[in-house]
């Protein structure tokens, strides 16, 4: 197992480096620099600015400096638009918020999705099954940017139950709508995957054997059916996790929650390349790390996988 994790890490590191180099070159190719303004700066000022941020170095040197800054000091450099703030500060301000509602939405989507799927599979073709399938089909066409306005319309404008935006770590009423908006469509997908996997497992021989030897039904399901049925769900968790972070872009804009999505979109609109790259690389690193965890989990549950 240890060797397997090491081997996966050996792939993850070059991937991350590639992502950094790719986005760096992309940034360089883009027309207009960070100091392009409506009023053109005097050439001497521009040269000084470029020298300060190291933009007059050859490209390879800039890349190496940038990577070294990240690896050695975890430093993504200064923001180009707000010179008094570093990229780290901008990201650090938003990250706890994104992490809070993102992980809550993740847990809620997985728990409810698996629950719905299992219930639908156990009572196959019953009223409960149709209800669960109905919910999951309906929820699937409601991505976060559709859910967000609908939720605000219902809970804020019509009933006035929940605050329509903003964020507070102490008041969960600010958390509810972001979590629902973010998680709904993934809950639906997880429910569908769980249901079909569970149906397949429940029809297999080892379940019949377990029932034939008189095992109580709840133990058949919890011990023998759930574990193999979880495999497809686990392999879907990687994409779901990524979507939680990606979705934060919409959540932060719509609910003004101030997570990293806001930092990203602000920087995109301001052409603050340093912040954009910082967020992209951070999200890339998280993605790779989470996919690694998912793969290890998968290998641990499925005895057929040799690693």
């Amino acid at each position: 197992m240890f060797a397997y994790i090491m081997r996966r890490l050996a792939v993850a590191v070059p991937t991350l480096l590639l992502l950094i180099v790719f986005s760096f070159i992309l940034m360089h190719l883009a027309p207009g620099g960070p100091f392009t303004q409506e009023r053109e700066l005097p050439p001497q000022v521009l040269a000084n600015l470029n020298a300060k941020y190291g933009l007059d170095d050859p490209l390879w040197k800039q890349i190496i400096n940038y990577i070294w800054g990240i690896v050695a000091h975890f430093d993504f450099g200064p923001s180009f638009v707000y010179p008094d703030r570093s990229v780290n500060e901008l990201i650090a301000a938003g990250f706890p918020v994104t992490l809070t509602y993102g992980s809550l939405a993740f847990v809620a989507a997985v728990a409810m999705g698996v629950g719905l799927g299992v219930v639908a599979a156990i009572w196959h073709n019953s009223f409960l099954d149709y209800l669960a399938v109905g919910i999951s089909i309906g929820a699937q066409v409601l991505p976060n940017f559709v859910m967000a306005p609908i939720l605000v319309l219902i809970f804020t404008l019509w009933y006035g139950l929940l605050p329509g935006g903003g964020w507070s770590f102490n008041d969960p009423s600010f958390w509810i709508m972001p979590v629902i908006a973010l998680g709904t469509s993934y809950m639906a997908s997880i429910a569908r995957i769980t249901r079909s996997a569970m149906l397949e497992v429940l029809g297999s021989n080892h379940i019949r054997t377990a029932r034939a030897k008189g095992m109580p039904e709840h133990r058949v399901i919890l011990r023998h059916a759930l574990k193999p049925a979880m495999l497809p769900v686990i392999s879907y968790l990687g994409p779901v996790f990524v979507s939680m972070i990606t979705g934060s872009v919409v959540i932060d804009i719509y609910f003004s929650t101030g997570g990293i999505g806001k930092a990203f979109v602000d920087s995109a609109l301001n052409r603050d390349y340093a912040v954009m790259m910082g967020v992209t690389i951070l999200v890339g690193a998280l993605t790779i790390l989470f996919n690694l965890i998912v793969d290890v989990l998968y290998a641990w549950i499925d005895p057929k996988i040799r690693y």
């Binding site: 070059p14 992309l26 190719l29 883009a30 991505p143 319309l153 919409v250 967020v279």
Partner: protein
């Protein structure tokens, strides 16, 4: 004995009929698909939406760019949907006809979805089939490249691309096309691996057919079922991606519009009571996604012999 002779004759007739009417696997699949109520509903919805996109423009009383000065400034009271002034879906915040705008948005969203899926189908199928058929080290390198691309947070990179190189439809297509084929290539590769050791491929190889011809002529046609199912499920994903980006205001630019941009506008103004600006684009968005999901599921049930 007369009765028995009758029976014999009808039996013979029936047998003759059975012999004449052979059923191909495709015909079987078609029959299963047409019997699937959800899939047929989806298909009808999709045809209706497509007709709306193609012909809706002829019914519009206003162009999508003209401002209705009678409504402007008092959209909340005057701009509601009405048959009298020709704004069937009402007007948007600037006084433009929402019906014409929705037609336009539908055209663009559908186009993005279909073109994105088409890129995915062509690139993904060829890439996956080549990797799977050639095998060995080439396969490993090609699939490792896919793994690496997959772990890139594509939505962020897509936004990066759009911001850096200007927001245009071409850039949007390029960006969506860059990432959409990855899943497809994996699925196709898996299928190819199971196909390539079959007898008919061996026969083709033995008669000296070059590899590229085997891939194009013998592997790809046998993948069509899987590819068709996945492509139908890919179109709504592409539409979702585009709408997501347009919702953020980073996608298509005015005067062009798409469902995502319209939903975003509608969501921004619903505080003023102009609910129709959100409701109409959202309605088309949701029913189209429904349609594609139902048709995709129906196709999978029809073409996948395992689930019969």
């Amino acid at each position: 004995m007369v009765i028995q002779q009758d029976k014999m004759q009808s039996l013979a007739a029936r047998m003759a009929q059975d012999e004449v009417k052979g059923r191909s696997p495709w015909a079987d699949a078609r029959k299963r698909f047409f019997r699937n109520k959800a899939a047929m509903t989806g298909l009808i919805i999709l045809i209706a939406v497509a007709l709306f996109a193609l012909l809706g423009g002829y019914f519009a009383q206003w162009s999508n760019e003209d401002l209705d000065f009678a409504v402007m400034g008092q959209v909340a009271t005057m701009g509601a949907p009405s048959l009298e002034n020709g704004h069937y879906f009402g007007t948007d915040d600037l006084g433009r006809d929402l019906f014409a705008r929705t037609v336009q948005g539908t055209q663009i969203s559908l186009m993005v979805g279909i073109v994105g899926a088409a890129i995915a189908v062509i690139v993904g199928t060829l890439y996956g089939a080549t990797a799977g058929y050639v095998g060995g080290r080439t396969d490993q390198i090609m699939m490792r490249a896919v793994d690496i691309l997959m772990s890139i947070p594509y939505m962020f990179v897509l936004i990066l691309l759009l911001v850096m190189f200007g927001r245009s439809i071409a850039m949007l297509f390029l960006g969506i096309g860059l990432i959409s084929w990855l899943d497809m290539s994996r699925i196709v590769r898996g299928q190819t691996l199971s196909l390539k050791n079959r007898e008919f491929i061996e026969a083709a190889r033995a008669t000296g057919v070059p590899s590229w011809k085997i891939i194009l002529r013998h592997i790809v046609p046998n993948l069509l079922g899987v590819v068709a199912v996945y492509a139908t499920l890919l179109v709504p994903l592409m539409i979702l991606t585009e709408s997501f980006i347009s919702f953020l205001g980073l996608g298509v630019q005015e005067p062009l519009t798409s469902w995502g941009a319209l939903i975003s506008e509608g969501a921004g103004t619903m505080n003023y009571g102009t609910l129709w600006q959100l409701a109409f684009p959202l309605f088309f968005f949701v029913i189209t996604l429904f349609g594609f999901f139902f048709v995709g599921d129906g196709l999978r049930d029809a073409l996948d012999p395992k689930d019969r």
